[in-house]
């Protein structure tokens, strides 16, 4: 269980995080998304015990993380910019980890060699970007961590490898209740594996929710009328966003599905479609609400 309570972090005069709180339950997959520069990587580095929080509490299994060896041996952090020792081969790196992580599982390391299929005698720094990431995940999984902190883990991997890696991670979640906190901009990909989502923007947590609740809460509605659009409809509906395309009205509405349906049907529309939103759409509309809109730039 990861608990973060009102954590702030400042770098000189840049306020990277302001009073961010979050909780990740054991065996859960938490997706951290946000605009560029929102503070995702800072948050993950705080969780990994690389940064020290300026204020607030940050605990894994009720213990503070910073400089805490017992907790750190059970966590794996894969950063967005990978670091490997100069001239180290995969095998050298594995030996190094086996030496410092007590729960290193050599059997697993050998087994995963078949999945990743990279010659263990190769120097890691001579490998391609995607292959280096594979090595990081390979070694990370062989550490049998209780918590994995992943910063853009699938970045640079080919589609086959992405699927393989997701599958390996999910298996560990299902079988050993591994906890994962993952940041990504590929929202489509997060949808399959995350059960909890937090959206960061300018150092603050905008919303965090169970992913299915988040989706059950906001709906995209398309309505069309054979005549005029009843003016009362727009006045009496709380919309996050609305747009008229010809005679079709597109609304983004918060609320329960059944309520929205009965409310809309009271206007007798000719067409009524309610679509669940994708994570990408939720992200865009929530951001739009906070002044981070997509404005089409015309030249």
């Amino acid at each position: 269980m990861i608990e973060v309570e009102r954590v702030s972090k400042q770098f000189q005069d840049l306020e990277a995080l302001r009073e961010v709180s979050l909780a990740v339950h054991k065996g859960s997959v938490y997706g951290l998304v946000g605009s560029n520069g929102a503070g995702k990587t800072t948050m993950l580095k705080l969780l990994a015990g690389i940064y020290k929080p300026d204020s607030g509490n940050l605990m894994i299994d009720s213990q503070p993380v910073f400089e805490n060896e017992a907790i750190k041996t059970r966590c794996v952090f894969i950063p967005d910019i990978l670091y490997f020792f100069l001239n180290y081969t995969i095998q050298d790196m594995a030996d190094f980890y086996a030496n410092i992580y007590p729960q290193w599982n050599n059997q697993r390391y050998l087994k995963l060699a078949n999945v990743f299929n990279i010659e263990v005698k190769r120097r890691i720094r001579t490998l391609s970007k995607g292959m280096q990431r594979q090595v990081a995940l390979w070694l990370g999984l062989a550490l049998m961590p209780d918590v994995m902190i992943l910063d853009e883990p699938l970045d640079g991997l080919d589609p086959v490898m992405r699927q393989k890696v997701k599958n390996l991670i999910i298996q560990d979640v299902a079988e050993r209740e591994m906890t994962i906190i993952i940041s990504s901009h590929n929202l489509r990909e997060l949808e399959d594996i995350c059960d909890y989502i937090g959206i960061l923007h300018q150092g603050k947590m905008l919303i965090q929710k169970d992913f299915d609740d988040l989706r059950a809460d906001v709906h995209k509605i398309q309505v069309a009328f054979s005549g005029e659009i009843p003016p009362a409809l727009l006045e009496q509906t709380q919309t996050l966003y609305h747009e008229q395309r010809g005679s079709v009205l597109i609304l983004i509405v918060r609320g329960a599905y059944s309520e929205i349906i009965s409310h809309m049907q009271s206007y007798n529309p000719a067409v009524l479609d309610i679509l669940p939103l994708t994570l990408e759409e939720i992200f865009i509309y929530e951001m739009g609400d906070n002044g981070y809109e997509i404005k089409n730039i015309l030249y």
Partner: protein, 129 residues
């Protein structure tokens, strides 16, 4: 055994629920047959195990499956309980289909004949969901 449409807008747990109900209604999953465990299904489909757990809870709540502690989940023989909500949504779907058929020029008599044909083919509720 399942194939989910990961590109669909429908939430994954809803898709799972619908898929399993379809398999139960069409008798692919037989009464008292065991459903795959959360762990197995999770790694087969590469989906968060908590999502699958949630779908199974929903199915149990709706009366399609039952679970035995320590053994797993099984198909419940006959569906009991309150189906009003589902029937209502099916009815509105039917209304939409009929409206479209009418728009495309199918006469009402023809629609009734088609429906009767389908009803006479259907034996004992093994319909396509």
């Amino acid at each position: 055994m399942f194939e989910l449409d990961l590109r669909s807008r429908a939430p994954i747990y809803e898709q799972l629920v619908d898929k399993i109900i379809e398999l139960i209604i069409n008798n692919v999953l037989k009464p008292d047959e065991q459903l795959p465990s959360v762990r197995v299904l999770s790694s087969e489909l590469t989906i968060n195990p908590n999502t699958i757990q949630k779908a199974y809870r929903e199915l149990e709540y709706r009366g399609y499956i039952y679970s035995l502690p320590g053994k797993g989940s099984f198909v419940k023989p006959a569906v009991s309980g309150d189906n009003t909500a589902r029937l209502q949504s099916l009815e509105s779907e039917l209304a939409r289909i009929i409206a479209e058929m009418r728009y495309l020029g199918m006469p009402p008599g023809e629609i009734v004949t088609r429906v009767n044909d389908l009803l006479s083919k259907d034996k004992g509720g093994k319909m396509n969901d």
